[in-house]
């Protein structure tokens, strides 16, 4: 109950910070250039695409984490938390896909390429969608929660395996954060990126908390209805 205002603060802050990062990306961070000297404008999407993608993985972790908590305690609140976390995951996953597709269109000249990271991400999108399809097709509350927890855990373990297996054969997706020479981020770029990432995580947290509160209010309403009815 006490943590409540944090969600609003995070939302405002996160919004501010990501907006700031957006301007920084275009006005401050130096543009990269192609080998032939043309300015690589499409690279700017990196400041949005990568933070969103990483936020999606992080939030998906909570689907599995609360899934485990639920199975251990059978406490319905954890099921609600896992579901809300998955909702936020879905939001980020769709954003990642959308921004990624824009980028591949510009850079590679195609909307879609069966390239390791895209493939993995496509699989992860299907898993997250599958999670909700599963939830919608189970009648009983407790069964639904248990199955969703089990599937959420399996899906979260499966996603990294798909990631690594697709990289085992050659990848053409840029490896940005691997360090070493290829990463070559200048300090202003790195700072902009980090700010964007922090803002995105704050937004993710805010979305999660606010959705969760909505669910709790809904729950209390149900409880009131029952107490009036009985």
């Amino acid at each position: 109950m006490k943590r409540r205002p944090i969600a609003e603060v995070m939302l405002a802050l996160g919004g501010l910070i990501t907006t700031a990062a957006f301007f920084m990306a275009f006005l401050w961070a130096p543009a990269t250039v192609y080998p032939d000297g043309r300015i690589n404008f499409s690279q700017k999407i990196f400041y949005f695409h990568v933070p969103v993608a990483e936020a999606s993985f992080l939030v998906f972790f909570f689907t599995a984490f609360y899934g485990v908590r639920f199975l251990m305690t059978k406490d319905r609140r954890y099921d609600v938390m896992a579901r809300v976390a998955t909702e936020v995951t879905l939001f980020f996953v769709l954003l990642t896909m959308a921004t990624g597709i824009l980028w591949t269109r510009v850079e590679w000249g195609v909307w879609w390429q069966w390239e390791p990271r895209l493939t993995t991400y496509f699989i992860m999108t299907l898993l997250v969608i599958g999670y909700f399809v599963l939830r919608n097709s189970v009648e009983d509350d407790e069964k639904r929660a248990t199955y969703a927890a089990a599937f959420g855990i399996l899906a979260f373990i499966d996603a990294p395996i798909s990631f690594f297996i697709t990289r085992w054969v050659e990848s053409i997706h840029p490896v940005v954060l691997a360090g070493g020479e290829s990463s070559g981020l200048e300090p202003p770029m790195l700072i902009t990126f980090i700010i964007a990432q922090v803002g995105m995580l704050m937004l993710g947290y805010a979305f999660y908390q606010m959705r969760l509160r909505e669910e709790e209010l809904h729950e209390r309403l149900e409880a009131l209805k029952i107490s009036i009815g009985g």
Partner: protein, 242 residues
């Protein structure tokens, strides 16, 4: 749990079972002596099935405790399962196995020692020995129910749970079931869920009415005023509908 000696078959203490805000059982307490026949009545959604599922270890309680034959439903679930049997309105038999194969299969699950002998003995008792090599998909509803009694008795359980065993039976099959229950009555404790008030009252030694997960009435059959009991039952059923 200290007082739960040999002669208490079921002991339920402040048992609740809830998921979120919905409470299927809400502080149920009762004690049933060994050898009793408990009939559980109540409207749909009163918690009858949930109570039986908790007592048969299929569901865990949210709070409170319950024990059957002195064994806790959570901590000693596996040992408890050896001591109970269930006869449901569903036969719980595999239609593509023969009557005998079905019994031998369940005998294996329970680790029954003299499986073949026990199966034959029970098939005779439920008068199905002439059909023992037939697939149960060819059986009538009444025959299935008889075989399901044999299945439930295989491992010589102390407590038998009956979940509306009479539903869907023709009068002849009901007679046979009556007869079978009368035969084994002395050797077991019975817990029966029933929608049929007269049938339930006729068989029981203890009667329980549940509504909205709570005990409305729990009395011994002998101390029971039948008219008042039926009145209470109608009131709760009416409540359940509203």
């Amino acid at each position: 749990m200290e007082g739960a000696g040999r002669d208490t078959a079921l002991e339920v203490r402040d048992l609740s079972r809830a998921f979120g805000v919905r409470k299927a059982l809400d502080g149920v307490s009762l004690e049933v002596p060994s050898g009793a026949f408990l009939s559980i009545f109540g409207p749909n959604g009163a918690g009858k099935t949930t109570l039986v599922k908790v007592l048969t270890t299929l569901l865990n309680p949210t709070s409170g405790a319950a024990s059957v034959c002195g064994l806790d439903v959570v901590a000693e679930a596996v040992a408890l399962r050896h001591r109970i049997g269930l006869i449901s309105h569903n036969p719980l038999l595999y239609p593509d196995l023969t009557a005998e194969e079905n019994l031998l299969f369940f005998a294996d699950l329970y680790g029954v020692q003299d499986a073949e002998e026990r199966a034959r003995e029970l098939l005779e008792a439920v008068e199905l020995d002439h059909r023992r090599l037939d697939l149960t998909r060819t059986f009538s509803r009444g025959m299935l129910q008889r075989l399901s009694i044999a299945r439930a008795l295989l491992h010589r359980p102390d407590v038998l749970f009956l979940d509306e065993p009479y539903s869907g039976l023709d009068p002849h099959a009901m007679d046979i079931l009556d007869h079978l229950i009368a035969q084994i009555r002395g050797e077991h404790t019975f817990v029966m869920i029933s929608h049929d008030l007269d049938k339930g009252l006729q068989l029981c030694s203890h009667a329980l009415i549940l509504a909205s997960g709570r005990v409305v009435l729990y009395e011994e059959r002998d101390a029971l005023d039948e008219a008042a009991f039926k009145e209470t039952y109608r009131a709760t059923v009416g409540m359940g509908v509203a």
